[in-house]
Symmetry: C2
Subunit: 412 residues, 2 copies
């Protein structure tokens, strides 16, 4: 797309009340707009990156048999009372509101209750299992403090998958599949090398849950990394018992700050018992369905990438999630020559299916280069009178700063 | 996809409290689930159809220069007070809730206030105009009555585009472009022949607004159709003056019930005045931006299609929005022959990029045919021992009921 048509402008300063690095950079580069603390709008560049993250996650969820659906934000109180998660004394993150007739409703912060109820219409027999269902949907959490930009939103996008199995054995098999799919996702998102499967507190049905933690100074979690094993332990469960369970020595662990970029959790029969989700087994006996849940927040992941892949000049997007692959920057001269060459190159690249942001604006080189570094597209192609003198383009990789000249002809 | 893997099942009866035809059919066919009155979840088949509607609208919005973004549901009270649209006495469809610190916030039912405020960061000069910005986003409206299924939701998906121009003349030009784009959208959605540009009440800045009304007995609006001119007048503005303005005779109009499937509205400078969205013109003088808004509710459109394209057996999707193009139904016999032929055909069709729902379930022909008619996929391909005896497939068009036999070889 042509930058002259993009409605957003970059800005030198983030709003004064914005203290998080991810939001400061993303606001300055025109990816997001701050509506209020913990509530952000996604501007065109930001939505492009968010959608790329979503699509990577979607592909991997489909690959492990996930069926996509979409549930409502408005939640029926009765279902949440059945699982004892409605009362503000029990759960203090609800946003609640009222229908015109006075009926209280909530804004969903997760969807176990809603989906378990839906599945009652569709699961009757062991033949209807296993199933895995997921959605990308905006969650609402009434956070008392929301100072971490898009890392911790009051309204934020979540991918939540739920699994339904006949027993713990088949649940555990699916859980393992999901764990592999998650690591593949972080790999594809460009944060695989920084992300650790982390043992955290479990529940009634499993001793531990698994978090996925990405090393980052802005993280709110403290984890203990076992580098050789590529695993970690959340500080909240670090005991002698855990060390023994995992067969690791305290001395081999390093304390690090990290951001939780996903979690997978065995729910056992907690929700199926409370809401009556049962199936008939081979002998006709009624049994509760064994469930699991698997979350990744695409907007939180986007914030994490902005935290870990950025420098003092701006953002540095991995290619897989960059809003565009190439930032074509034309340094317009006194005649039309540069403009024409850049237009041709833009047409040629886009025809080949390469996503290009084309800076065709009538402004100086300093402003263009500053904006390009701030926006952080992986490859910057510069055309100027100087590069045209040798029929070339100057190519700079945002990540390494490495510059090389390439002949125009090789792109046309 | 294989129907044995689809988690939803069809059902004979809709919930008793569901009185609208669209929701009854869509629930029975497994497209949606009713969470509460006016609040529905989109199950896999429903989400597929909804996404097809969304993509058609997106393509046409991009074609008229729309830039896609995504705004939050949570709304800042102060902006809505500035336009005098916060007070429940003035607007009685708000859902309101509170942050932990007691600050009141609303759930957006439209986004003029939010977007006008965002644009203040990006529009300074006449050079920054024109712009058109849109989103697909869930709106919340606290409807006192919500008995029309997905035609009138308390939570529903909306495409809202907003235009920004230097003056009324350029606004009007864009408005005309948008009007054409809208008619093209309804054409592509399969309801073009039933949909009329309808003159409705305007505002301070234009005498009329334009609604797009689809003829349907379930509609809440009364319109007067001028068949020859392919326009209509909303009952609420039918006066001698309007007839004169449009140059039509009362006698040429037919009274019909209709569903409003879209509207486009000139906002003039109402929001830019109230929120201070100005630009500097060629001489440096500060002027308010002229705005327009352009809405289509994809979920309402889906409900409209279900109302107008259905019969006593079920839904009849136009090809452009059907969840799948082909419903492959295998009537499994005593040996593996039918299963193998159907598997091969399924692989062959999907390899060619044709979207197929493959009924590979182990159940009777009656149940399979009933489900197929209810789900309403445009083409039903039946493979059975009987069709294989002549190396053929039986092809039935859902819309016309026309049946023909075609040789297997032509598909492989």
């Amino acid at each position: 797309m042509k930058q002259s048509q993009l409605f957003t402008k970059t800005r030198r300063e983030a709003p004064k009340d914005e203290v998080s690095k991810n939001a400061q950079l993303l606001i300055r580069a025109g990816f997001i707009h701050k509506e209020m603390a913990g509530v952000y709008d996604f501007l065109p560049l930001g939505l492009r990156t968010l959608n790329k993250i979503v699509n990577i996650i979607r592909e991997e969820m489909n690959a492990i048999g996930g069926e996509e659906m979409y549930m409502s934000a408005l939640q029926d109180k009765a279902k949440w009372e059945a699982t004892d998660r409605w009362d503000d004394e029990k759960l203090d993150i609800w946003f609640k509101t009222k229908l015109k007739n006075g009926t209280e409703v909530g804004l969903g912060f997760t969807h176990e209750e809603a989906l378990t109820s839906i599945m009652k219409d569709h699961i009757r027999s062991y033949k209807d299992l296993p199933k895995a269902v997921y959605q990308f949907q905006n969650k609402f959490r009434n956070e008392a403090r929301a100072k971490s930009g898009i890392l911790r939103g009051r309204e934020f996008l979540m991918k939540d998958l739920y699994s339904f199995n006949v027993d713990l054995k088949s649940h555990n098999e699916y859980h393992e599949k999901a764990r592999s799919a998650y690591m593949k996702i972080y790999e594809r998102l460009g944060i695989g090398s920084l992300t650790y499967v982390t043992f955290a507190s479990g529940g009634t049905f499993s001793k531990y849950s698994h978090e996925f933690q990405t090393l980052c100074e802005a993280g709110e979690d403290i984890i203990y990394v076992h580098e050789a094993r590529k695993i970690a332990i959340n500080k909240e469960v670090l005991t002698e018992e855990v060390l023994k369970d995992l067969g690791v020595k305290r001395a081999d662990l390093q304390e690090r700050k990290a951001i939780e970029v996903g979690n997978i959790f065995s729910l056992g029969t907690k929700f199926s018992d409370a809401l009556g989700l049962n199936y008939g087994d081979e002998k006709g006996a009624l049994k509760p369905v064994v469930m699991g849940c698997y979350g990744i927040g695409p907007s939180r992941v986007m914030g994490t990438i902005a935290e870990v892949w950025s420098d003092d000049k701006g953002l540095i997007w991995p290619e897989s999630v960059a809003p565009f692959k190439v930032h074509l920057v034309a340094l317009l001269g006194s005649d039309d020559k540069v403009k024409k060459a850049a237009d041709d190159l833009y047409d040629s690249l886009t025809t080949k299916g390469i996503e290009v942001l084309y800076d065709d604006r009538d402004c100086g080189a300093g402003e263009k280069f500053g904006d390009s570094d701030l926006i952080g597209i992986p490859w910057r192609y510069v055309i100027s009178e100087k590069t045209l003198a040798s029929d070339s383009i100057e190519i700079k990789e945002r990540k390494t700063g490495k510059v090389e000249m390439k002949k125009m002809a090789s792109f046309l």
